[in-house]
């Protein structure tokens, strides 16, 4: 055990959204889930959840319809790469700005 006179400051913290700051501001593209293909959403069962497991910032919820916390999602695209049914697409964030052209 460390000597009580020593603080031993390290960069060690509970993993979770926000652990590395407000990483949502880093994002260029955001993940959008097509719930008609997503395995848990389609089957109504807790299955797959690979996006939840592999998200480096823990911003994907482990729900029947997975939700992404955009406050902290940095847009890395790992979830889209790993989704076994290609239900997640990366869409330019600019498209969601108010006044952006929509189809």
């Amino acid at each position: 055990m460390p000597d009580p006179r020593f603080k031993v400051l390290t960069s060690a913290s509970t993993s979770g959204p926000g652990d590395a700051g407000r990483t949502g501001s880093w994002r260029v593209e955001r993940p959008v889930i097509d719930m008609s293909s997503c395995i848990p959403a389609k089957t109504g069962k807790h299955a797959c959840h690979l996006c939840w497991l592999l998200c480096p910032d823990n911003v994907v919820s482990k729900e029947i319809e997975p939700a992404i916390d955009l406050e902290y999602c940095k847009g890395c695209g790992i979830c889209a790469q790993e989704c076994p049914v290609q239900a997640i697409s990366m869409v330019p964030d600019a498209d969601f700005l108010e006044g952006a052209d929509s189809e």
Binding site: M1, T10, S11, T14, S15, G16, A20
Partner: protein, 404 residues
């Protein structure tokens, strides 16, 4: 107490690591370190040591394995020399920044190019700014005792410790020493526990991208940014000197040896001229000091420096307050400037009222012999001439034993 035995310095180090019950050894062989890790692998293979020996493909990986082991709350050890130490340099900084209590023996050897397997201190000196604690042993007993104390220190202050001893002069030389008994070592060195030890039950992020500014973590606790963490490392390295002294007292109470954990002065009390050196050369100077006093009536002493980082500036400066001349002999330097130790001592003396005249000698690079006779002669000459030497000239390092 156990009986003294006669063995090599490398075996002495391995025995200490065995007694310390290190749990993971990861090392890559390099002369003159190789026999340490060979001995440890034999001990593990023979079931005399309950540890995992991880054979790695490089020193970089050796340190990476130790970092992983220490992060999982396991006592880790490695050893290396020379270019091997440099190859793990990036990981050395990492281990210190992550505050992992790894202990490493560095069997000091010159750095290539040109290739050399022989002794000097440039390997350790080149890594002085990594944030590792660096201590230097002068004989086999100190190798054993310092290695055991290094584990205790590392785990109390959570800073990795490098135990340095001279290649060949100590590593391959046999002399008597007393191995401490296991029961007392267990009392002295409790098991290592780490509050951030990796476990699936309590996942944590360790040393991920850490922003310039402090921040609130997911639990709303304020966490330091990079600079705060590094400032703490610096502050607590400085405070480690005191802990090292306390550990030495505990060790002395249990084993009856110690008393000079930071500096080890010999005949310095009334000395006009104090020699400063690290490692086995400091012991060699005891013979030179005796001769200078006996034959030449010169009041000379030798101050062995046992701890190089953190640099014990105040302790050294105070020890040199009554000296008129200080002769710093070293086996490494900051190229283009001066001896690294010399520069440190000069800067340590700056805030103090008495600033003795300083002289710098570079000796024994790449195993160039350091005959005791030549140390005696250079000291004698320096003592006779020093007042006449202009200070700018005296400040430049003098190289001993050049052959070209």
């Amino acid at each position: 107490m156990s009986n003294p035995i006669i063995e090599s310095g490398n075996v002495a180090a391995a025995m200490a690591v065995q007694l310390a019950r290190a749990e993971v050894i990861a090392a890559y062989p390099i002369t003159p370190q190789t026999p340490v890790t060979e001995k440890l692998s034999e001990l593990i293979a023979a079931g005399k040591m309950d540890a995992e020996y991880v054979a790695v493909e490089s020193e970089h990986s050796a340190m990476a394995v130790c970092i992983g082991a220490a992060s999982a709350g396991v006592r880790a050890f490695t050893a290396t020399s020379s270019n091997g130490l440099l190859y793990m340099s990036e990981q050395l900084h990492w281990a210190a920044g992550a505050r992992l209590p790894i202990v490493m023996c560095v069997v000091n050897r010159a750095i290539g190019a040109p290739w050399s397997v022989w002794n000097d201190h440039q390997d350790a000196i080149s890594q002085r700014d990594t944030g590792w604690i660096q201590i230097f042993a002068k004989d086999h007993q100190e190798i054993v005792d310092m290695t055991l104390k290094a584990f205790r220190l590392a785990e109390l202050v959570h800073i990795p410790v490098m135990v340095n001893y001279d290649g060949y002069y100590l590593s391959h030389t046999y002399m008597p020493f007393e191995p401490p008994d296991a029961e007392h070592v267990d009392a002295f060195l409790p098991a290592y526990t780490y509050k951030h030890a990796l476990t699936p039950e309590r996942p944590e992020s360790l040393n991920t991208v850490t922003l310039p500014d402090a921040r609130l973590d997911v639990d709303g606790i304020k966490r330091g940014g990079y600079m705060d963490i590094r400032h703490n490392l610096h502050e607590e390295m400085g405070k480690s000197i005191e802990v090292w002294e306390e550990i030495d007292q505990e060790f002395q109470a249990l084993f009856g040896r110690g008393g000079h954990p930071v500096i080890d002065p010999y005949r310095c009390d009334d000395a006009d001229v104090v020699i400063v050196a690290m490692g086995s050369m400091a012991n060699q100077f005891r013979v030179v000091v005796d001769r200078l006093r006996q034959n030449d009536g010169l009041k000379v002493g030798i101050l062995a420096l046992q701890m190089y980082r953190p640099f014990p500036s105040a302790i050294i400066a105070e020890a040199l307050q009554s000296a008129r001349h200080v002769m710093v002999y070293e086996k490494g330097l900051s190229y283009g400037n001066q001896g690294a130790l010399y520069g440190d001592i000069k800067s340590a003396l700056y805030p103090y009222p008495a600033r003795p005249r300083l002289h710098n000698f570079i000796a024994g690079l790449g195993g160039r012999a350091i005959p005791t006779e030549s140390l005696y002669q250079t000291m004698k000459t320096a003592c006779e001439q020093d007042l006449q030497t202009p200070s700018a000239q005296a400040d430049a390092p003098q190289w001993i034993g050049l052959q070209l």
